[in-house]
């Protein structure tokens, strides 16, 4: 199947997703959406890894994907826990309202 679609297409789509994710992290102010954007970036990475892995016929890229997925889950868990703690004390999840510390 992959033979029918060239590798470049996968790489371009993953690069686009990665850039969308990065822009999301930088521009959005809602902490939850920021985390979603980060997930988007990680998924772009996964797509790149899988397509390269398939193209090269080397499974180690796919193994990497499993690790990235599990780490992403752990990261999201920690991130959400921190957002929860922050919400309890500040009643907001908008990062521009969280400004006790100067940027």
């Amino acid at each position: 199947m992959l033979q029918s679609i060239p590798l470049e297409y996968y790489l371009i789509i993953s690069a686009v997703i990665f850039i969308i994710g990065s822009i999301g992290v930088i521009t959005r102010r809602n902490a939850i959406i920021i985390f979603m954007s980060i997930e988007l970036m990680l998924n772009a990475v996964n797509l790149t890894l899988v397509s390269f892995s398939s193209f090269l016929g080397d499974v180690s890229g796919q193994i990497f994907v499993f690790f990235v997925m599990s780490v992403a889950a752990a990261e999201a868990a920690i991130g959400l826990a921190i957002i929860l703690a922050l919400f309890r004390s500040k009643q907001t999840i908008y990062v521009d309202e969280v400004n006790l510390l100067k940027w």
Partner: protein, 499 residues
């Protein structure tokens, strides 16, 4: 075939005994916490585990090989950093015992020790990682623990805020890093640094994709060592975290970041054919040295200049630690073993003085309830011993003799001059003049203001003063007799370069 793999695995287990000791302690502390519910037990077990790990480490000294089929290298270079990490961990554990912000607020401490150990484990693995997956996992093990630790005193608002910023920037930079890794994997067909190196050596031409993906990977490490422009998190996290964790982040996690940065650059991009032990030639004429030089100059200049305006001591030390990362980067720029040695020497001294400064700031904060510079006025006459020691640490951070910090600078600038990077050395020394100004501001407030204000003395426990002394005396002694450290660092510059 099957037997060979099993044998390889079992053989490798013997090479990661220090890591295993930390891992076992990690598990034991979780269980002990459930059973005894006693902080002293947790602390004792953690310290014990750290010491056991240290004993294993001593037992393995001089090993120069690779474990788990090139997943991690066990070499003198990683060993040096493991010692640094272990010493830092021990200091942090003891320091936590004195920390009132951790104990006063009824924070449950079991997880705290566990996470410190988890962080240490991550850093241990990072110091030796030679495979992209391993680097990523070790980095994340370290990061995850530190995200939680930086927000550990979650009742304090600024603490959870620091934590949030840390986790957002951390995830972002690790996302960038693994994107770089994925491209590197695609271009070279391997995740193993040695294999990547041989691929690049065989196809030696300049590829922009390799360069950019390398930059992205380095960005991930630059985040850990808080190099400009990936430093944004540093001041906030340092100011908002419990001070024990601030100290830990500023020394140990930075050390691990440097270890992996050096290893990545050296293993992946150096040209084995053209390089001698002394200087590494970079293949494909990718100007990594220039990239790092720009990074170093930006980092130290920005760190120093922004530190000038700070009024909070913790925040000032955060910017100063950015500046020190800039100095340390100079040691990589020169791409020689001398440069590597200077990084090791500098790091060891940096550990002493930076921890020392943070501990005194913590102890002062307990008594005067503030980390603001203005509240330090006249404190020299209320707590002469600790204030003198803080002065010593700050003088050492500035890099004046006869303190250890001066030797660090001497060796570092020596390596830079030796390799002909004259303009870099000039910028470096000018930066250290700038740094004098903000360190002296603290000294000024402690001693020059409110002299003999008659406010009575502040009492500190003998143990806490002894802890500071343990760091202060070497800061002075190694400033005068630094031979042993030089020798140790010289033995530790050997990086395992593959079979």
């Amino acid at each position: 075939m099957y037997n060979a793999v099993v044998n390889e695995l079992i053989g490798s287990l013997g090479l990661i005994k220090p890591e295993l000791a930390l891992l076992v302690t990690f598990v034991v502390v979780i269980i002990a916490d459930l059973i005894f519910k006693n902080n002293k037990v947790n602390l004792g077990l953690s310290i014990l585990g750290t010491i056991v790990s240290g004993i294993f480490l001593i037992g393995m000294s001089g090993t120069n090989t690779s474990a788990f089929a090139n997943l991690i290298a066990v070499d003198p270079f990683s060993e040096f950093f493991k010692y640094l990490i272990l010493i830092s961990t021990l200091i942090v554990l003891v320091m936590s015992e004195f920390s009132e912000e951790l104990h006063n607020r009824d924070v449950w401490m079991g997880e705290y020790y566990m996470l410190v150990l988890g962080m240490a484990l991550g850093m241990f693995l990072l110091a030796g990682a030679t495979n992209l997956i391993m680097i990523y996992l070790a980095l994340e093990t370290m990061s995850m623990s530190s995200y939680i630790l930086s927000g550990y005193t979650k009742e304090i608002k600024r603490s959870s805020e620091a934590s949030l910023k840390y986790v957002i920037f951390g995830s972002l930079s690790s996302g960038i890093m693994i994107y770089g890794m994925s491209i590197l994997f695609g271009m070279t067909g391997s995740l193993d640094l040695y294999a990547i190196q041989s691929y690049l050596a065989a196809n030696g031409f300049f590829q922009p994709a390799i360069f950019i993906s390398g930059l992205m990977v380095i960005a991930g490490f630059a985040y850990k060592i808080s190099a400009v422009p990936f430093h944004f998190w540093t001041p906030d996290v340092y100011e908002g975290s419990p001070i024990t964790i601030t100290a830990y982040l500023s020394v140990a996690s930075k050390a691990a970041g440097f270890a992996v940065l050096v290893r990545f650059i050296k293993l992946t991009f150096f040209d084995a054919a053209g390089s001698s032990d002394e200087s590494w030639i970079m293949m494909n004429s990718i100007p990594w040295d220039m990239v790092l030089a720009v990074l170093a100059v930006a980092t130290m200049t920005l760190g120093n200049i922004v530190a000038l305006w700070q009024s909070n001591v913790k925040r000032m030390l955060a910017y100063s630690s950015i500046a020190h990362a800039g100095y340390l980067l100079m040691g990589i720029v020169v791409m020689t073993n001398t440069g590597l040695m200077s990084i090791l020497v500098y790091f060891f001294f940096y550990l002493l003085m930076n921890f020392g400064a943070f501990i005194v700031v913590m102890l002062f904060a307990h008594k005067i309830g503030s980390e603001e510079m203005d509240d330090y006025e006249g404190i020299g006459y209320q707590a002469p011993v600790l204030a003198s020691l803080l002065t010593l640490f700050l003088v050492s951070l500035t890099g004046l003799p006869p303190t250890a910090g001066f030797i660090g600078k001497l060796v570092l600038f020596g390596a830079v001059l030796d390799s002909g990077w004259y303009w870099l050395a000039v910028i470096g020394v000018l930066n250290s003049v700038v740094s004098l100004y903000y360190y002296a501001k603290v000294v000024r407030n402690m001693w020059l203001r409110k002299v003999d204000n008659g406010k009575g003395t502040l009492k500190f426990s003998i143990q806490s003063q002894a802890l500071v002394m343990v760091l202060g005396i070497p800061t002075l002694v190694f400033g005068l007799f630094f031979g042993p450290i030089m020798r140790w660092a010289e033995h530790s510059v050997r990086i395992f370069l593959g079979n």
